[in-house]
């Protein structure tokens, strides 16, 4: 069956990058009709970006490789058309907001494309006005784009694409570097472009929880092949998709898949529909709490780090922390959450002395960070940054991990420490591998190993799951659990609320340089109103259970396994 007017047609597309032995895409067939909203999803390396580049023409026009098959946009073959003639048909938005900004004001940025095409000035002004209006940046035309928030930068990138007046928009993980607020902004603009302006949307994304409800069709890629395509509800029931360990299935869908009683219900795409289905399934049944109810309490332990009325002001005058007092016990697993600019990274950087308080005191195992060098503190507090590219600089895995300890320890000790660190992060036996052949999750674990090699008691991880698929997320997060079992204090800075809910035992929420909430995970996650102030939403599962409170369910369910047992318990009690 052919759609009435085909916008993008992909026939038997196979592509291999020049320096790669195996194809990145194999035998892809896909038709996207005008006005359709299509989600591309799949594990890291499954071919999402490659497919985006094949549609916007960067492949095969700029990126070389072995190309066969055919992609056409409204009958125009991409392979025979220059990128400049494709970009008026397909607009492109990329992952990294910074690299897409080329000029000095928001308005100039939007005019840049049409100017390159030689469009008449009066028309450029009309296009710029339209594009900025469509993404809600009309009041910011004179702003310096570099100073915008991440979400605004990506909306600007969308506007620059729109100004070329394309029918199709291809977005390659546009929210990968955004906080939840920015992500929400981008999704709502994209939905709007689809609804109000009838644009065809093709978007590659990992964050499915908030996106699925807008999507007409969901396409799942795995190892370069298209394994499923269709309505999200159908695709999420597909056995092959469910068995795909790499795919990050939305929490509510996983829950419905896990409980046999729900097999006849549609997969919920929103919390509301999940609540409705669960209530129907329950009928008159209620949840009877049993004795297992856990007390939400943190184990008291010795203090590892304490902050006393800490304030910090950057040299440019911005007050980033305002009177923070915080104690972190030995062996705790703490998550710092909050929007970009809330101060969470600034706070984390105080814990290993990268930043020193403007006023107040930070004590790390009794050492005042004002009087201790970062080098010395690295033996107590290890800090792995988000992007492994910022840290890895040697060829061999072993050398990379051994680099810092070699300077302070004997050779024999170093060997042992390196092997132990690699084992902890699950990279044992890989010590002679070349660092540049590792994938993102392996590189991230490698940076954790190099931090561990200084044998710190506290390990801080900045956005440990950013850009990772399901399987990779598990591999990194299991390392953190292992570290805690080893007696280390683990602190993660993260936007990934479901992951935080699953792993952390304590959450500290920052807002405008102050601590908004601090407590055990299950307590913090149910403080909806306070969380809302900083645009943090509890995980979908917690949202579901909070709305089931009238049926006797505990409000603070926050992990998938807990949700499964609680619901099964309620459903099974009165069969």
């Amino acid at each position: 069956m052919f759609p009435p007017m085909s916008s993008v047609t992909i026939n038997d597309l196979t592509f291999s990058y020049e320096d790669s032995p195996s194809p990145a895409l194999t035998g892809i067939n896909l038709r996207v009709s005008a006005g359709e909203f299509v989600l591309l999803t799949g594990a890291t390396g499954a071919g999402k970006s490659t497919l985006c580049y094949c549609i916007n023409g960067l492949i095969p026009n700029s990126v070389r490789g072995k190309y066969s098959g055919d992609v056409s946009i409204d009958g125009v073959r991409v392979a025979d058309t220059e990128v400049k003639d494709i970009c008026i048909r397909v607009g492109s938005v990329f992952q990294d907001p910074e690299s897409q900004i080329l000029t000095t004001t928001v308005e100039e940025e939007v005019a840049f494309g049409p100017e390159n095409l030689g469009v008449k000035p009066a028309e450029i002004q009309e296009r710029a006005a339209f594009a900025l209006e469509a993404v809600g940046l009309q009041d910011m035309r004179d702003r310096f784009p570099y100073a915008l928030s991440g979400g605004q930068k990506q909306r600007l990138a969308i506007a620059t694409a729109l100004a070329m007046l394309p029918q199709v928009l291809v977005l390659d993980e546009p929210t990968a570097q955004l906080d939840p607020k920015g992500t929400e902004e981008v999704f709502s603009v994209v939905k709007d472009l689809n609804n109000r302006y009838g644009k065809t949307i093709i978007i590659a994304e990992h964050k499915l929880d908030d996106l699925l409800r807008f999507v007409d069709r969901m396409v799942v890629l795995s190892y370069g092949r298209l394994v499923a395509a269709g309505k999200p509800q159908e695709v999420l029931r597909n056995q092959e998709v469910r068995d795909n360990r790499n795919l990050r299935i939305p929490q509510l869908a996983s829950l419905f898949n896990l409980i046999p009683e729900f097999s006849t219900y549609p997969i919920p795409l929103t919390v509301e529909s999940a609540v409705a289905s669960v209530k129907t399934a329950l009928g008159a049944r209620r949840y009877k709490p049993n004795v297992r109810e856990q007390e939400a309490k943190l184990v008291q332990s010795e203090i590892a780090i304490s902050m006393l009325d800490v304030s910090f002001r950057y040299p440019n005058g911005v007050a980033a922390l305002k009177g923070i007092s915080l104690e972190i016990g030995k062996g705790q697993y703490v998550a710092l959450i909050g929007q970009n600019g809330s101060g969470k990274t600034t706070l984390a950087k105080h814990l290993n002395g990268l930043l020193r308080p403007t006023s107040g005191v930070v004590l790390v195992f009794g050492l005042d960070t004002k009087r201790t060098s970062v080098g010395e503190l690295a033996g107590h507090v290890g800090y792995a940054f988000q992007n492994p590219d910022h840290q890895i600089f040697l060829d061999k895995v072993f050398d990379e991990v051994a680099y810092a300890p070699r300077r302070v320890r004997k050779r024999h000790d170093v060997d042992e420490i390196v092997h132990r660190s690699l084992e902890l992060v699950g990279l044992q036996g890989r010590d002679q591998d070349f660092t540049f052949t590792l994938g993102l999750s392996e590189r991230r674990r490698l940076t954790i190993a190099s931090v561990l090699a200084m044998q710190p008691e506290v390990v801080i991880l900045d956005e440990p799951t950013a850009g990772l698929d399901h399987e990779e997320t598990l591999s990194v997060m299991n390392v953190t659990k292992k570290l805690q079992r080893e007696g280390k204090t683990v602190i993660i800075v993260s936007h990934d609320i479901p992951v935080v809910a699953e792993y952390a035992e304590r959450i500290v929420v920052l807002y405008d340089g102050q601590i908004l909430l601090d407590g055990p995970t299950r307590e913090v996650l149910t403080q909806v109103e306070l969380l809302d102030r900083t645009y943090v939403k509890p995980p979908p599962i917690t949202q579901l259970f909070m709305q089931l409170a009238d049926r006797g369910f505990p409000r603070d369910v926050h992990t998938l396994s807990e949700a499964q047992t609680t619901l099964s318990h309620a459903l099974g009690e009165y069969p």
Partner: protein, 274 residues
């Protein structure tokens, strides 16, 4: 660290000035600072640039931009004080067979002020001019758009690069790497730990910027248009009069033998007033 210049949005008369006018002013300042080495004249030129900066409502950021170069200026003055041949000694250090002269100190101060003036005038141009306007202005006086764009992009991505440098430095220090190492060799090796990642992420970024340029049809049409044309007005006339008057009067003064610290005659015979 903020030793880079970038556009600061605003609506001042300097912001609204035709970029060609500002380019003319820039050329005049670049010329006149080379004519003199006397700190009084260079000081006046420097003050005139700061005056324009304050008209552009960017005096404070301008001074902030200049401040990290202060150390470097002190260094300039010191070096010239020691090596410049002057005639009027202030202090004589007998053991070292060294005399510090009035001319040497003056010359050193002059060179430092020349350096600051060049930085300030460039800063004012970049901070008050939208990149599109600057490139259009440059194009109208004969500099091809793509070449101008290349230069502009360098200026544009410098802050990003410096941010990245800071992040990498922090990341490496966090895993126990001491950049402030004991010996020069170990310090150089540790510097590699910062430079290698910086180079790699920069390559990645260049590729990404390339994609952004291509998908926005950069270089697609020979007849590139500009959304807004340049408009020169009264303020441009005023600025041009100011620049030309500055140039003419300073050239005349220089020809009249003013503004050169005596010692230069010894270094370059025939260069000073006879």
């Amino acid at each position: 660290m903020s030793f880079y210049a970038q556009y600061i949005p605003g609506g001042s008369s300097i912001h609204r000035m035709d970029p060609r006018t500002k380019l003319t002013w820039l050329a005049v300042i670049y010329t006149v600072v080379l004519l003199f080495d006397h700190p009084m004249f260079l000081g006046l030129i420097f003050l005139s640039v700061l005056l324009i900066a304050s008209l552009g409502e960017i005096l404070r950021p301008c001074l902030k931009f200049l401040s990290p170069f202060g150390i470097f200026c002190v260094f300039i003055v010191l070096v010239w004080t020691l090596i410049f041949p002057g005639q009027t000694p202030i202090v004589v250090i007998g053991i070292l067979n060294l005399s510090i002269t009035v001319e040497a100190v003056l010359h050193g101060l002059g060179v430092a002020l020349r350096f600051l003036s060049l930085l300030a005038v460039t800063f004012v141009l970049i901070a008050t001019t939208k990149i599109g306007d600057l490139l259009l202005g440059a194009k109208k006086i004969g500099i091809p758009y793509t070449i101008g764009f290349l230069f502009a992009s360098t200026v544009r991505f410098l802050p990003v690069l410096l941010d990245e440098f800071d992040t990498i430095l922090d990341a490496q220090r966090s895993r126990g790497l001491r950049i402030e190492g004991p010996s020069i060799i170990s310090r150089a090796r540790n510097l590699l730990a910062v430079l290698v990642p910086l180079l790699l992420v920069s390559f990645k970024r260049v590729k990404l910027v390339g994609y952004a340029l291509e998908t926005r049809a950069f270089g697609a049409s020979k007849e590139r248009t500009f959304m807004r044309d340049l408009k020169a007005g009264k303020r441009d006339a005023a600025m041009l009069v100011f620049s030309v008057a500055l140039l003419v009067s300073l050239v005349l003064l220089r020809l009249g033998g003013y503004g050169i610290v005596g010692g230069l005659r010894g270094l370059f015979p025939g260069f000073g007033p006879s």
